[in-house]
Symmetry: C2
Subunit: 405 residues, 2 copies
């Protein structure tokens, strides 16, 4: 018997009455596994998108404090309905909004960070043997306004609560049965991973895997929260994410990820003077443009090319800015390629296995795939390739590194 | 220039984007009339009903605390969207939930009463020259839970805030242009009343008029809040509700109201012993059954008949209870008639004009309408009649008391 489990249900798991009743059953079953249960819930189904659309009908630029006031209603509906469902099954249950649950957050509105958790009401309710349902994605900011936590906010609420309450386990219920070696829609040989380390999950999240956002994994790693990603609709065991994963034979590569949302930008013939790169990337950072891979060619004749990748969604904003910067810095000009994608391999085993990179390049070249850019970390290697080559590259890497079932 | 106006918009006035933008315009226009504006809003359109339906899909008997958690989201959506709309028109605006606005309430859940108002945040925001938007129908109870205020709760929020903030005026925006001499759907000769007293409005609300609930009028009367009932969709002047209405020639009857939601119940041949009526009505009160008119026939041979009216919605609950009571009290039995309705005339002028009652009975008998029961107050006379006679009775009384346009 565990002491405390935090369970988190995403929007698709509470999208309608049937699914809410299913979630209620899963929660009640867990009372056999743990003495205390805290549940975090997202807004039902598409409700958040519907509310954003309503706001955009009113104005193109909704006030962000009011946007948070609006969006917070989605999770509030979920917690109330889920708590009713559990109460109706003769288990005492109580729901709390993020502010009521003692989740304090900072600024800015619509993407605040959690600053602290004071779960006074949660602990009181648990003491009364109640199943506690908490609204994900929201908290109270220093101005006592409701704020939301941005993308992946409900996962973050769950992991942060699990840390604050010293939970034995944080279960993330979703519509897939766990974390896969790659996206099964692209490579049917993909298999579910039983256990994976925080570091690998972080690299996976950063390289395009959609399961969990990096911010939640970071908090889990920091406070050593053991996570299980599993399906709301099956009893199958999910994927455990934890600090150390011990296996008889260490797997070199644990997953293949990809990200089609990429553009390669190049500034040509920049004068090779100190601080010039800082000027380029400083200009982009000021506009909140996230730069991923960066390559600087070695200087010839006192000039340099700098290439980097950004999200396609940032292209419209980046291009005029970069052209202006290029002119100011007396570069020759700006070119871009928005038909590129990133494929990555992730695995803690890489640290102790030399030659993984060259294996990757070989597998890609065997498929006739040209590599535009390369970046490496301790446990990840990413390549920028033409986006039309993504599917075959993922399949080749998945099979090459022996991840096929 | 007034100092402060409280404006209240009902659900039909914020049912969609177009209507929200219209409300925003009405609010901004009022900035020419008053230095400070506080707005109270209901949930959009049918949202409250939709949420109740969702809850009933989950369980027949939803937990009431969770019901309040659920229902409170409706107003929260309205305030956020309305505040966005105003902000977008370059007027600073801020929204508050009931709890944030400092509206404290008691028990029970789903129909709490307001206990006090501490409008700290409202006053701060007004000082910063912001238009303040407050969620109607909700408050915080002593357990720090969100609670709702039951039927007419948003009007109550508006009137109570107007009292607490010492507003010059409380405008109730709705889909009709004011308070009418009777329901125009029944009597096309109905006319809008320019001014009416709290007492008359109270009697009207109690006798079937749908414009405002008695509880809001009671608070307005107690704190002398001047109310104007008007349309969101027309610039027409509405109806002023205030303490004293001075007119050159006093109108005897100011309105004709009716209520089709009536059942007449009779307990036959009750033994005529002291305290027997208390036993009957005490038993009903314990089950929260509201009894309206009561008639006790004079005793003959030591037996009595007691007749009274209740709401049709309470019939199912009342009948078995009353049959049990009747048996216990050794009465002969219970009969009821659910084909009755109540018509009433209301007017402060009655106090000083004798003969109004006999005029009323004459107008009804001229139409061949039989009267089952009569009850009178200082400024109201009500008759129970067959419900098929409502329309012609209303028309006859409206014309008889010279209310036709």
């Amino acid at each position: 018997m565990m002491d405390l489990i935090v369970m988190k249900f995403g929007g698709s798991s509470v999208a309608n009455t049937e699914k809410i009743l299913n979630a209620a059953n899963r929660i009640i079953e867990n009372k056999k596994k743990a003495r205390r249960i805290v549940v975090v819930v997202s807004a039902p189904g598409d409700m958040t998108d519907d509310l954003i659309e309503k706001a955009n009908e009113i104005t193109e630029k909704p006030n962000e404090r009011e946007m948070d006031m609006l969006l917070a209603t989605g999770e509030q509906i979920s917690i109330a309905l889920l708590s009713m469902a559990i109460n109706n099954k003769s288990h005492d249950s109580i729901s709390f909004t993020g502010p009521q649950a003692g989740i304090y957050a900072g600024y800015p509105h619509t993407k605040a960070r959690i600053t602290k958790i004071m779960p006074v009401k949660i602990l009181q309710a648990l003491k009364q043997n109640k199943i506690v349902i908490v609204a994900g994605f929201q908290g109270l900011n220093p101005n006592e306004d409701i704020t939301t936590l941005g993308r992946g906010g409900s996962d973050l609420t769950a992991v942060a609560l699990a840390a604050a309450l010293k939970a034995d386990l944080c279960e993330i219920y979703t519509d897939v049965t766990g974390v896969y070696t790659t996206d099964p829609r692209v490579c049917s040989a993909a298999t579910k991973i039983d256990q994976i380390s925080y570091d690998e999950m972080l690299e996976m999240a950063g390289s395009g895997a959609q399961v969990m956002q990096a911010r939640s994994i970071e908090v889990a790693k920091k406070f050593n929260v053991i996570i299980e990603v599993k399906s709301s609709f099956s009893k199958e065991k999910g994927t455990i994410i934890s600090g150390e994963v011990k296996k008889m034979e260490e797997v070199v590569v644990s997953s293949v990820t990809f990200d089609r949302n990429q553009v390669k930008m190049s500034v040509l013939d920049l004068p090779d003077v100190p601080g010039i790169a800082a000027k380029v990337f400083g200009g982009l950072a000021k506009e909140n443009i996230n730069v991923d891979m960066i390559i600087q060619s070695s200087a010839r004749d006192g000039f340099n090319d700098i290439s980097f990748t950004i999200s396609r969604t940032d292209l419209k904003k980046t291009l005029p800015l970069l052209r202006k910067l290029s002119k100011k810095l007396k570069a020759q000009g700006v070119i871009y390629d928005d038909k590129v994608a990133k494929v990555s391999i992730v695995g803690v085993g890489m640290k102790s296995h030399p030659g993984v990179a060259s294996d990757m390049f070989n597998y890609l070249s065997d498929e006739g795939v040209n590599i535009h850019m390369i970046s490496t970390s301790e446990i990840k290697i990413s390549c920028i390739i033409n986006d039309k080559n993504v599917d075959k590259s993922v399949k080749a890497l998945h099979s090459g590194f022996k991840l096929d079932k």
